[in-house]
Each structure stands twice: as C-alpha cells, then as structure tokens.
Symmetry: C2
Subunit: 443 residues, 2 copies
C-alpha cells in the first residue's frame, strides 16, 4: 500500500475484522487484538465506536497510548476522551499535539448531543477578496492537513463573520481570475452551537446538504458538522427511541456486545416499574370480586378488553412519538391531534365493538356458554371495547405531549407503559358498564 | 439574487413555506400554492416530498407540467414519476429532454428501495492516463451540468470498469502534472445495483463515506449514491420499523397529512387481527371457568400476569428487531441470542416473581383479602410470573428470527403482536400451575 492509500484506506477487511471482534468474548478481545498486524489493528481501531476504543485503550500502557490516540481524527479523539472519567481526561489530552489538544478541549466543553459536540472545529477559511487562483494556491498549502473528507471552504469577512461558502468543486470549475466573493454561496444554512443533534439532523434532511457550519451567538463560525456524522446520529436517535418504545432503557452498545448483567439491568427497571403499576389491576379487580363471583362469565373477557385498549394506545403513542421526533408534530399541535385521535378512536373502537358483539351473538352454542343473558353480555363487552379503545387512543396520543410539555422524553410513552396505564381504566370501564347493563339479570 | 444563487438557493423561507403548506387543508393547498410568487412556489416545490409534488402536479394542465418537471434533479423527477400510475408515466417522461428521459427510464427499472433506485446515474468520468491539469480542464467543461452536490470523479479504465475515485479536493490540491492514476483512491467501496437500501445505508455508516459508486454484475459503474439521500433512507426505514413495532402499518406521509380514513385503515388491520387472535383468551379462559368459580381470587391476578409476559416479550422483540436492522444481529446468531435471552428471561422472571410473592405475602390484611391459603396463591402467582416472563422473553426474541427466516419483515413482531401471542400461553401456564399447587386447598 502506498502511503496515500494508508491514509484514506477503507480496506475491505474492516468488515471482516469488525465481525470477528464482535464475535469474540470481551475478555479475549485484547489478546486477539494484540495478535493482529499493526496495520490491521489500526484499521480496526479506526473503525470501532468510542466505547470499544476506550475498552482497548484502558488496558494499554501510557507509553503506548500516544500513537493510538494521535491516529484518530480530531472529533473521534474527543469522543474517545469523553469515555473516560473527568480526572483522566486531562492526562489523555496531554498526549495530543498542542493544536489538537486545544481543539479537543474546546470540543469537550459542548454537550455530546449538541451541534458543538458533533462538529469538527477545523475548517478551511478563505478571504472574500482573493481570486480563485490565489485561493487554490493557498488551499494547496493549507488543506492537505485535513484528514476528514472536506469539500467546502468558508469565506470569512473582515469582521470575522461567516460570509459565504464555496465548494472545492466550484473553485475547480471557476475561471481563475474571478473573486471568491463572486462565486461563493451567500444564502447560508447554519446551525447554532447548542442546537440539539436531532434538530441538526433534520436540517440536513430538509436541505440535502453535505456539511453545515456551526456559528455562535455573535455569528462567528466555530466548526462544521458533516452529513456522514449525521447518519450515525440519526441511527442512534432512532435506536434510542425504539428501545424506549419497546419498554426498555436504551442500550448504548450493539445488542450482542452488552454484557448479560447490563442487559438485564436496562430491562429490569421498566419491567419492575410496569409490574408494580400493573399491581393496581389486582387491587381494582378486588373491588369487583363480588361481581365476578356472581357472574364468572365476565372474567372471561378481561384479557380481550384490556389488551384491545393497550394495542390501540400503543398504536397512537408510537405514531405521535415518531412524528414528534421527525418534527412533523409539534407541541402546539396537541389540539389537532386530539380531535383526529378522538375520531380515529371512535372508528376503531366501533369496529372492534361490532366484531366483539357479533362474536358473542353468533358463536355456536353461545347460550350454553354464556347463559340466557348472552345478548346483554355481548352488549356490555361491545360497549366496553368502544370505550376502552377510545380511551387507549386518547391516552396514547396525548401522553407524549404531556411528557414533552414537562421536558421529559416523549418516547417514554412506550407501548407497555401506555398499556399498563390503560389496563386499570379498562377494567373499571368494563365492570361499570356491566353493573349498569346486567343489573337484575346477572348482577 | 444572481442566477447562480437561484440554482443553489436554500432560502431560509423554505422552512416557513413548508410549515404553512403542512398547516393548510389538502383541498386548499393548490389555491394557496397558486397565489405564491413563482420563485417561492418553485422553492417550495423543490423541497416537497414526491407524494406532495405529485398532488400539486396532478391538477396542473399538461402545458404547465413541463417546466415544473424539468425544475427537478434527475433522481427527484424519477421519484415523482414513480408516484403516477404506469399508463401516465410514459407521457410524463416525454416531458423531459431526451438524455434525462433515457436516464429516468433506466432508474424506473430499479426497485425503489434498491441501490439502483436510489442512485444518480450521472457521474463524472475520468481516464486514468490523463494529467491532473487535463482532467481539471475537462471537468470545467463537463461538470457544470451537474446540479447535485458532487465531490468525486470516477476513473474508468479501458475495459470500461471502475478503477478508482478521485475527489475534486484531491484534484485541486495535486500538482497539475501528476497523472490521475497516481492520485486516485483504488481501495474501493462499491455496492451492487440491487442491494437493499437499508444495507446501503449501513455501508455509509460503517465507512463514513459521502458517496458510493453502484456497479453491476460485470463491474461496470451504473451511478452513485450520495450520503444525503441515505440520511432520508435511514429516517424512512426507522419510521417504518417503529410504526410496525407499534402495531400499525407504516404511514407513508407525515402523520398530520394522512387523511383520517387512511389513518384508521392503516391501524384497523392490525388491531382487528390482534383482536381476533386475542379472542382465544376468552375461549381458553372458558376452559378454566370452573376453577375461577371455585376460586375467584385467581381471576384478580390475570391482568398482572399476562401483561408481564407481554412487556417482557415486547422488550426482547424490540431489541432484536432493532439489532437486526442495524446489522448487529444476523440470522445465524439465533443460537447465541436464544441462550442470552434464556438467561435474561430467568433473571427478569425471577425478579418479578419475588416482587409478586412479597406483594401477596406482606400486603396489609392479606389473609382477609386472599383467604387462608394466601401463601399458596402467592407461590402460584410468583411461579407463573417466572414462567410467563421467561416464555415472553423467548417468544419475543425468537419470533423476529422466524419471520426473517421465512422472508418476512422481522419488525412485524411488534409489541402488541408478541403480547397477544403470549397472553393465551400465559393464562394456560397460570391455571396449570394453580391446579397443581392449589389442588385440595382451593380447587
């Protein structure tokens, strides 16, 4: 391999190496890593996530660490250093060259999930009043240092503010005597340094850009966020939301790499919380014990009724949570959503109610199974279904708004969480309707 | 605005325009659109998704359509044409200039979600044996036509195969007398034309690239996929999976833009299917009616027990489905996952079992509520919880593998679906344990 290729290499073996790495038990990984050739090991190291890099890193001697740390691009080394406790970070930063150390320190000051934490603080600056020819000659001396794939230069005015951008492509294609200010793009899309990464990713997908400059409150440019970093952000955010929707704390590492004990810990929290909340169903059912005693047939439909409430709630909450994450639905839309879901809930509840009624009325031998009052039982089940589906739909769609309103993550309104909330109410709706409709018949 | 700016413009008003567009009822949108200035209308049109563009398009006269269609970049016009029925497409393609029409026809031959359907068939070709200087001069005449943000040229050898890539940046920075073959990157990452878009997006995120060439079976280059298209793909795929996980068919448009009737249709299918399956619970409960009659206390814990099974199943299926989508877990990993989840299920079931037992044993006045055999009832509930959580965890984690094995979408193993599957078994486990443990006491 030429030195050029080493620099840019995406060796096809990386996938294989990563595959092997993920198959090996964590305890054996470092030994396995040590047996690789230096170039293979470097390739793998460059392609691991920060937490895996940190794992590898933490067992190395300090004398070995420098060359591995300096191998990484600036923002990746910041991510790696962020994996370590505060008191170790300074010593790690000390391993970097002075310029990089200053940049990494600046990056570490941003929240990991803000534009500032995502950006690369190094970018190519141009003055507006130079010709394309001069700009290109200047870039030949400057831009070689850039390791990341950078395709734009940023035009900074005399007041130090960002005036425009110009792509390397446009510079390449423009007549050499033109001024940078004549060919630059001035209709700028920028993001503020503290913007949440989810919002940053929406900017990219709205505008189809490959890089967005990050500016501070004074309009000074602080760095650039590249679209390839954003792909990872989008995946991460979606994974986090999905895990929450499934009723578990978000895993930070790939499923097969999370130690069993951590995996259980991430799940036990919600599972226990839901279980303890669901205990109310036993308490509430206790209130209706006398009714059940008199009409055991009522108990038969409890799973059907509460699960329908849970399912419709899960549908509604999932749709709203995802729409919020994509920016399609905002906090102020709660009214519109409420009326939509009210109508959707009535329709869906109506459909299930009719099916439930027909099921009981026309089931072969229905009178033998459900007794002489089977029509009234059917009506009770049917109306309960309407009520519970409506209630589940409204609860599921409004809960994400409520959570968001109070600064909590709407994705916590997971399918299991909504189902649990709805179960208790479902039982109450069912038995209340039963005592109204079946009074004097069964009860 | 200069003509240059118009071409590249990302006017800051676009967000506002899109916002207004989404707030207006679909019937009023076209009138509203017609009242915009031509440049605002174009800006909005360029930034709408294909289905919205098609909506706007379908009411235009044929005489008006041409200028709007030609406004779009190649791959976007292919997407728009794809929104129309087959018999209208040819006439629409006829509105394009001859070159574009040929390219669009080629694109339409690919599945929408394959690399070929995602790619832009236009890319900049270079010969390996020319100097950087010649290449740059050639590009000045050729590359201006490119509307999309393209940063690479592709080096095609005498056998018409892809030999390497060279970024405009590298061309700009290289000495003019060097040969293209000396500065090109030869360690290539390519994707085959029929690769699924989800896999394509994983390639991007593994390798941190901004563009990947698409090649056919003979190694001939067919086009390029850009990372900014992939951001949208990643979002779309995640949205689709999340909707399925929530137990609803995936919505294709933003939540607030889906007409109510469609919204209900997308949800009613799964809801009814789940409801009909859940009817088995009523049938199964019927078998245990005599037991419930003798010990009504047993009925009180049914919601608690079946919901715990559903919750643990939902956790497991969500984690596995997401891991599969990210390529972290593959079909062949089912054995490893099985044993992991077996242990996780035992631990989680054990935790809930112990909490359930303590809840019944130490609840104030437990003997008054649950009768003299409260210890045995507690034990029945506790062991049922262990069994049902274990069963839910195994079912939830294995179902995605089963679906994938038979070529179905693993994401169909939604939280509600798994919960429904587990409910019937949960009731059976509970009453079987009850008849074993409570025989001679309550039963």
């Amino acid at each position: 391999m030429s030195s050029f290729e080493t620099l840019h290499s995406h060796s096809p073996d990386v996938d294989l190496l990563k595959e092997s790495w993920s198959q090996i038990a964590p305890d054996d990984r470092l030994n396995w890593f040590r047996r690789l050739s230096r170039s293979d090991a470097e390739e793998l190291f460059l392609n691991l996530g920060p937490s895996d890099q940190a794992e590898w890193f933490s067992v190395l001697d300090w004398s070995e660490r420098r060359s591995w740390l300096r191998l990484l691009p600036l923002d990746d080394s910041a991510d790696l250093i962020q994996e370590f406790p505060l008191d170790e970070r300074e010593r790690l930063i000390g391993l970097l060259d002075r310029d990089t150390a200053a940049d990494v320190t600046a990056l570490l000051a941003y929240a990991e999930d803000a534009a500032g934490g995502l950006m690369n603080p190094r970018f190519v600056r141009l003055r507006p009043d130079v010709t394309v020819d001069v700009a290109v000659r200047y870039l030949r001396t400057q831009a070689r240092k850039q390791v990341e794939t950078i395709h734009y230069a940023y035009v900074i005015g005399p007041d130090a503010k960002l005036m425009g951008t110009v792509s390397f492509r446009d510079l390449l294609l423009a007549s050499p005597e033109k001024l940078v200010s004549e060919i630059m793009e001035t209709d700028l899309i920028t993001v503020p340094e503290h913007m949440d990464q989810e919002e940053v990713s929406r900017k990219f997908s709205h505008h189809g850009l490959t890089a967005i400059p990050v500016v501070d409150g004074q309009g000074l440019m602080k760095g650039i966020v590249s679209v390839d970093d954003v792909v990872d952000v989008v995946q991460e955010e979606a994974t986090e939301d999905m895990h929450k929707l499934g009723g578990t704390a978000a895993l930070e590492d790939p499923y097969l790499q999370v130690p069993l004990f951590d995996l259980v810990k991430k799940r036990a929290g919600w599972l226990v919380l839901l279980f303890v909340s669901e205990m109310f169903t036993a308490t509430v059912m206790g209130f209706y014990e006398k009714q059940i005693e008199r009409a055991v047939v009522l108990a038969l439909f409890i799973p059907l009724i509460i699960s329908s409430g849970g399912n419709s709630g899960s549908q509604a909450s999932t749709l709203i949570i995802r729409a919020m994450a994509l920016g399609e639905v905002k906090l102020k839309d709660y009214g519109r959503v409420f009326f939509r879901e009210l109508r959707a809930g009535l329709l869906l509840g109506g459909i299930l109610g009719v099916i439930g009624l027909l099921r009981i009325l026309f089931w072969p031998g229905t009178e033998a199974i459900y007794g002489p009052h089977y029509f009234w039982i059917g009506l009770t089940v049917s109306l309960s279904l309407l009520g519970i589906v409506l209630w589940g739909t409204i609860t599921g769609s409004m809960l994400p708004f409520l959570l968001k309103r109070f600064g909590l993550d709407p994705a916590s309104a997971s399918a299991p969480f909504v189902a649990t909330l709805v179960d208790v109410t479902g039982i109450m709706i069912y038995f209340t309707l039963a005592s109204l409709l079946l009074k004097g018949l069964l009860l």
